[in-house]
Point group: C2
Chain length 102, copies 2
């Protein structure tokens, strides 16, 4: 298995207990996740860019949260409308989207 | 908010749909997650080491999977008995646990 060059984690407040609730879940984290998966597939980046839903990062007031490793870049209040910019600027272009980063 | 110095992701096959199934879930990924959380709390590492459950990494036959960023170290077939060694050797000591890494 080839490790990804970029690994994108999106909080959807996914509970290991199977509960389906939480801030990023209610704040459309799932929409953001789905948009990332669509963009990755459309651009055929699946071999080098991984996407995962996660549980809570503990900074719910800033959600939905997106974290990109190994860059260690954290994005706040991400909407599905922001996903294309993150992909094009950061993932493909190497330039962090400053207006969303914290 | 201070970014963590290490961020540990544990696959528990957490579905954003709320489903509670999958390989790492059935393979005791949740026990591994809980053991990491206990060790982090006991050693008072909570401010610098974050732990999150995730959805599937797509390499289920090697599960439960644990990924440590920004190091980009991937561990396979992790059991709750391995967690103390990962914390002491890798997280506290900086030495990857070679027998589990891939």
């Amino acid at each position: 298995m080839q490790k990804p060059s970029r690994h994108i984690f999106i909080c959807t407040s996914s509970r290991h207990t199977g509960q389906q609730k939480g801030f990023c879940h209610s704040k459309a984290g799932v929409e953001v996740l789905q948009k990332f998966m669509e963009e990755i597939e459309m651009r055929e980046l699946g071999g080098e860019v991984f996407v995962n839903n996660t549980g809570c990062f503990g900074i719910c007031e800033k959600g939905p949260i997106v974290v990109v490793y190994p860059d260690n870049v954290w994005y706040k209040s991400v909407t599905s409308d922001d996903v294309t910019e993150i992909i094009e600027s950061h993932i493909e272009g190497g330039k962090v989207v400053d207006r969303l980063a914290f």
